[in-house]
């Protein structure tokens, strides 16, 4: 029997007594840098409901389980079909997408209550909303793009075999959700605040430096291999490998393999990391002998 959900004896269905209410515990935080605290909510159960619909109901009622009026819980979402990468959070302690987390399957996990918290490796903005700018900055660090001359007409791109396409496509499905970073023991939180008297530009520069010397993360390593394997993208492969062998590069990977286990898109991240490791080794030797 699903514990999180109390059964409802008023149901018209003969087959089973369907559950009625969903109990949720949310780790809240009012602003960046403030203390966090737990709050309990209860919402009516509906068949097939996911964590997003639970949060939508919490927003609509804006009351805790004991009837106290509180501001609605803030959270990120957009597509609700696990393709935009917005709604990553800790659900019963596990990093995952809220849209594809179904209440019926969660309830058993946590002694009758669904527990929601923000990702722990990124600064909290409010409640379940975190700031993932570092994740996108990593894509800049590894130059995750094809360096085309311009967007004018130069005919088609290079011929690519079906096998190459099948190899690249899964890597290109990365939704930048950050699950792999949350689960990685080597990826640790960077949370900086603007100092008194520090200009916006100085603060940005300090933050940029902190980002750029810390671990780049599995998602960016995988993107490196995606673009290095592209005929035109690979023309700057050396520049990307230079980044990957620099501070916060691939040498920081501890091979815990958590990333691949939590990836909602089942991207072969450890395969990318292994390939990147080999390429980096070759690159280091090449650089040494080219001197």
């Amino acid at each position: 029997m699903i514990k999180a959900i109390e059964s409802d004896s008023h149901s018209g269905h003969a087959s089973a007594t369907p559950p009625r209410r969903v109990r949720v515990r949310v780790l809240r935080q009012d602003v960046a840098g403030s203390e966090s605290y737990w709050e309990r909510f209860e919402v009516p159960y509906e068949p097939n409901m996911n964590v997003i619909s639970v949060l939508q109901k919490i927003a609509a009622q804006a009351r805790t389980a004991d009837g106290r009026k509180v501001p609605p819980v803030a959270w990120d979402c957009a597509c609700l079909e696990e393709i935009c990468g917005s709604c990553t959070m800790l659900i019963n302690g596990r990093t995952r997408m809220a849209c594809s987390a179904l209440v019926d399957k969660l309830a058993d996990e946590n002694g009758g209550e669904i527990e929601l918290g923000p990702m722990s490796k990124f600064p909290v903005v409010r409640d379940l909303v975190v700031d993932r700018q570092r994740l996108f900055r990593a894509l800049e660090r590894v130059q995750a793009w094809v360096p085309v001359d311009d967007s004018y007409d130069h005919g088609p791109g290079p011929r690519i075999s079906a096998a190459q396409q099948e190899d690249a496509y899964p890597l290109s499905e990365c939704i930048s959700c950050g699950c792999c970073l949350e689960a990685c023991p080597q990826f640790t939180k960077i949370e900086l605040t603007q100092r008194d008297g520090e200009s916006e530009a100085d603060f940005e520069a300090r933050r940029r430096k902190a980002f750029d010397t810390a671990f780049v993360g599995a998602h960016a390593i995988s993107q490196t291999m995606l673009f290095n394997s592209h005929p035109v993208g690979g023309m700057i492969a050396d520049e990307r490998l230079e980044t990957l062998t620099g501070p916060g590069g691939i040498q920081m990977c501890g091979n815990a393999q958590n990333c691949v286990a939590v990836c909602p898109k089942k991207i072969p991240l450890t395969r990318s990391i292994a390939r990147a490791g080999r390429a980096a080794t070759v690159w280091v030797f090449k650089r040494f002998f080219d001197r």
Binding site: A14, S15, P71, E81, C84, V146
Partner: protein, 648 residues
């Protein structure tokens, strides 16, 4: 020549392709988006992107045929020069996206593979797995990130567009936006403001669209004086998975592989569907369309599923309209091989294995063909003049619209795999216009002062909302009610009495919205007040959709009014049949003269739309009847062709 400064609102395919092209021209771009641009709704598109290609060309396909399919599919409601320009650009756009690294599926020989989509005989559709939109979006996101590193693009992610800034002559000189984290207001002075904010599915409550597709940016431009074109044309996809939070698309290929649609004959039969005997099931599509069965055209499937639930009351569930889409008779290994991907989506979100239990599906609002009215300049060869200041410009000088939020390319009905093309095309094509327009619009106007005045208006609106802590109305509940009204009256089947009633209901909802209390009065990441504001801005759009639909007494594309449908021919006697066909064609010609016009809505006092009509440029390809599946189609076609020959 001083470089202009451009503000783009929205970072989907249209906004990003525009930003990329502008940055490449050395123009500085501010890019405002509700979400990190990589998470824009374009990411959800699955099927592919259309263009004539090397293979179809050798089978007789041309840019012209792609153009013809598009205007025929759109029931001739779009101006033809922009469509012609778009389909002419098709091959170049696919080549470009290929160069940017989109992993299009490949043939054995390493060429791009294509598949066939609805509304055409050719395999025109390039695709990247089942996530073509995601792959196209990422390729553009990557290029824009590259320009961002170089300092030409500045992204303002998690920012909301609140209003354009207009000068005394009604020219757009910038915009006011709000940071959704700090809630800070900011004015953006700009030589041109480009809206690329997508569709408005949330006006219908739940749809296949993302949660950010509220239509609020377009509504705010409309309330500031921009015209809205063809608002009543909304595409409804026949098969989506109903969810409490959203409606997720279920691909047509499920029926293509033998899926059967049915409902229990007994209303809301509570038995497990597998226990309901064949005789007590209604396979209503197969019964009503023995020839096409479950594979009737999209609009017909949509209408029939909708009608059996609403008019016949045979929905599988009482509170949630749905019918069964049954694959359980097909062996598991076939399903896994041919439909694995989409069945996994159903399983993931419904927690039920569709190989064992029939799926529950229902039509869902999917795409807004209508949108902001935009201009174009016709070229001598029937396309558009590149760089003309009129291209994609709304009636407010300096305010532009591209992508799904303009009304330009899809007429009364959009063909599958044409939306990605129109988004990228309009984004690229408008760029030279913007580069030039910056110069034309730069003068001594004190933008700073204008912006400050508008900024203060927006701050006041925000403060007033925050002050509303007592009131009986809940914005989330009102949104749900609005969605129910709109879905009931203005989606698949439209009746004038229902539309008029819905209009009155929306007016009441808009009044009740004024009694909304916000549950969060804070000034940090206040999603509550942002949503409340967006709901308030849905009412003017809902009204223009309803009024446009109410006034349009005909059937055209996605707009279906049974009262004005033109049935097929009844006669069997050849002479009688001929007479009926003549009458049918007379009526068609009359209807074309009366209704082949763009609906233009201007926002009047209190958000009431003032509707007028504009002629459509059909000079390249004269309108002809769409006869698919109609009884007597051959006779009608014969008469029509004779008449065409006479006029030619």
């Amino acid at each position: 020549m001083a470089k202009p400064r451009i503000l783009i609102v929205g970072g989907g395919l249209a906004g990003l392709s525009c930003a990329m092209r502008l940055a490449e021209s050395g123009v500085h771009v501010d890019l405002v988006s509700l979400v990190p641009v990589k998470r824009s709704h374009s990411v959800c598109a699955q099927g592919g992107i259309n263009s004539v290609n090397a293979l179809t060309r050798q089978q007789g396909d041309t840019e012209w045929k792609h153009f013809d399919d598009t205007v025929y599919g759109g029931d001739f409601l779009q101006h033809q020069p922009p469509v012609k320009e778009m389909t002419d650009w098709g091959p170049r756009i696919i080549d470009l996206m290929d160069r940017l690294g989109v992993p299009f599926n490949r043939t054995t020989e390493g060429f791009r593979d294509q598949r066939r989509f609805g509304g055409t005989l050719y395999k025109r559709t390039s695709f990247a797995g089942a996530t073509t939109g995601q792959q196209l979006l990422y390729a553009l996101d990557e290029q824009v990130r590259r320009h961002e590193v170089e300092g030409l693009v500045k992204k303002w992610e998690f920012w909301d567009f609140l209003a354009p800034v207009l000068d005394d002559n009604g020219h757009c000189r910038g915009a006011i936006c709000q940071d959704l984290v700090t809630m800070e207001f900011r004015s953006f002075q700009a030589d041109a403001v480009v809206l690329a904010t997508g569709g408005n599915g949330l006006v219908f409550g739940r749809s296949t669209m993302s949660m950010v597709c509220t239509g609020s940016a377009v509504s705010r431009a409309y309330q500031a004086g921009a015209w809205y074109g063809n608002g009543e044309f909304i595409q409804v996809h026949p098969t989506a998975i109903p969810g409490a939070d959203k409606l997720r698309l279920m691909s047509e290929s499920a029926r293509g592989e033998g899926g059967r649609v049915w409902v229990p004959r007994k209303p809301q039969d509570a038995r497990d569907p597998r226990d309901i005997p064949e005789a007590e099931r209604s396979y209503f599509l197969e019964e009503r369309y023995p020839k096409y069965g479950n594979l009737v055209p999209r609009d017909i499937a949509t209408r029939e599923i909708f009608d059996i639930c609403t008019t016949d009351g045979l929905s599988v569930e009482k509170d949630r309209l749905c019918v069964y889409l049954d694959l359980t008779h097909i062996p598991r290994e076939i399903l896994d091989r041919k439909l694995g991907g989409i069945l996994e989506i159903y399983e993931k979100f419904q927690g039920v294995d569709p190989r064992l239990v029939p799926m529950k599906i229902f039509p869902a609002v999917h795409y807004s063909m209508g949108g902001l009215w935009v201009d174009y300049e016709r070229s001598h060869d029937g396309g558009m003049v590149e760089g003309s200041p009129r291209n994609q410009q709304t009636n407010i000088p300096g305010l532009y619209a591209i992508g799904e939020c303009d009304y330009q390319y899809h007429g009364a009905n959009r063909l599958g795999a044409n939306s990605l093309l129109s988004c990228i095309f309009s984004g690229l094509f408008v760029a030279p216009t913007l580069v030039a327009v910056g110069d034309a619009h730069r003068d001594s106007i004190d933008r700073q002062k204008l912006c400050e005045a508008e900024l203060r208006r927006q701050e006041t609106r925000h403060r007033d909302l925050l002050a509303r802590t007592v009131g009986d109305e809940n914005p989330y509940a009102l949104h749900q009610e609005l969605g129910n009204v709109m879905t009931r009256a203005a989606t698949v089947v439209r009746r004038n009495d229902q539309l008029a009633e819905a209009y009155a209901e929306v007016c009441q909802l808009a009044e009740r919205w004024k009694q909304c209390a916000v549950s969060d009065t804070g000034s940090w990441t206040n999603q509550n007040v942002v949503f409340t504001k967006a709901v308030g801005d849905m009412f003017p759009v809902a009204k223009l959709i309803l009024k446009g639909a109410l006034l349009r007494d005909e059937c055209r594309g996605a707009h279906f009014k049974p009262q004005f449908a033109m049935p097929g021919l009844a006669a069997t006697d050849p002479a009688e049949k001929r007479r009926e066909a003549e009458a049918w064609c007379d009526r068609f010609a009359e209807n074309t003269a009366r209704w082949l016009k763009s609906t233009i809505a201007a926002c009047g006092p209190n958000g009431e739309p003032e509707i007028s009509y504009q002629d459509v440029d059909t000079s390249l390809n004269p309108p002809r009847p769409r006869l698919y599946g109609l009884v007597g189609a051959e006779a009608i076609e014969e008469v029509w062709k004779e008449r065409e020959r006479v006029t030619a």
